[in-house]
Symmetry: C2
Subunit: 245 residues, 2 copies
């Protein structure tokens, strides 16, 4: 007499296994950001499954924004270099509606032992080093953002202030090209706080002015946290936009 309650606690459909294999190829760098992955027919042959099964695996990775499908052309590894991704994770919009471009001004880029809080968030040990970047961002000539960024030193080894200042595009494109680190998702915690003196000075505001504090953890492939941000937004002319579905 067989068991009455089937085990099956570990049932995993084929397409999920294919998805895991595709993820491996992305994580290992077999396919680089911006590059096309093999066609569905080729993948089906490689993994010895039907095209429909590959399709479902790719579909999920596409809705997770790891892959980009383009009918007639192919399926591509998502990249922060593409036009459409410039504002990937950037939710601040002008109240007026017209987007003005952002301008970065880097203040510093230093290396040190990780503070306990930062080490915990990045899942580092107390002996590991981190790189800290401070910068300002301006919208339409107005200083709007003061931002502190922490990165694991090991992954971003060799980053310097000069290096940052000579990079023309967004930071995430910089990480991708120069440090082979592509960001996949992020989590943010938001508060309203009163500006401290030093930050108020940077943003040309009175101390005590209300600021939006945005703390972000960004993850690369495999749910690995690789960047901490602590940003202060002046939201007098801007607002943080969010869609709830």
């Amino acid at each position: 007499m067989p068991e009455t309650t089937a085990p099956s606690a570990t049932f995993s459909p084929l397409y999920q296994q294919i998805k895991a294999l595709l993820l491996n190829s992305l994580q290992s760098g077999e396919w680089q950001p911006g590059d096309p992955i093999p066609s569905e027919m080729e993948l089906a042959a490689r993994y010895e499954v039907s095209q429909g099964t590959v399709r479902k695996a790719v579909d999920e990775l596409a809705t997770e924004n790891l892959l980009i499908r383009q009918q007639g052309k192919g399926t591509f590894v998502a990249s922060h270099h593409s036009e459409a991704w410039q504002y990937r994770f950037f939710s601040l919009m002008p109240d007026s509606g017209k987007k003005a471009p952002l301008k970065s001004h880097f203040l510093s880029c230093n290396q040190s032992k990780a503070a306990a809080k930062i080490a915990a968030l990045l899942k580092l040990t107390a002996s590991d080093s981190v790189i800290q970047i401070d910068r300002l961002q301006s919208v339409a000539g107005q200083v709007t953002v003061f931002e502190q960024i922490w990165l694991p030193q090991q992954r971003f080894n060799g980053m310097t202030l000069e290096h940052l200042e000579s990079w023309p595009g967004p930071l995430y494109a910089f990480y991708e090209s120069e440090f082979a680190t592509h960001m996949v998702r992020a989590e943010e915690k938001i508060k309203a706080i009163a500006a401290e003196a030093t930050i108020a000075k940077h943003l040309k505001l009175e101390p005590g002015s209300p600021l939006l504090l945005v703390e972000r953890i960004s993850y690369t492939y495999g749910n690995k946290p690789v960047e901490i941000r602590r940003a202060h937004y002046n939201t007098q002319q801007q607002h943080y936009e969010n869609k709830l579905n």
Copy 2:
């Protein structure tokens, strides 16, 4: 010799047409929130397409959170009454991590002509009336939210303060049961502001304290805006949480 560039600007796949039909049935109230919709086989027969085509249409509505699939049981119309949806659209979390339940205290519920701004957001004309609700919300005995809500009078006809006070659950469940209005999605704009005197008093804070201002537009079926909220959050013990994918 046929045209070189095919027209086809209006090509719409079958499953999209099925999706539109399903949406009609939801919007018309043929299937009520919480109820099961017909099985995939029945729908396939009704629309004279294959099960796979129905499936793809239902899949999209499920990922848009309009339908809920449950293997072995059926597919159900999403409802704000279900446990899992209590915190639909509510992004405020205690810093400590443990969720405490919310308690509502309604201050007023009045009817008046719509102000120009509100009328525009709700897509009403200047002669239309709106209902305005003011309320406070407390977390763990602490007054945390002051909220103003505007609703089109026509759709929410007959709402009173007593009515609101006697309702035990979340507002969106109230709208759903009492006014046949199910919310499908929402958009929020967030700023940090200094508390005005009257609001500070409600939240038991000093005037000028930093508050999170959250302005929300909620939509029902057919992208129809039917609720405006203007909420002030005290984020000393709480934060607004957001996941970027």
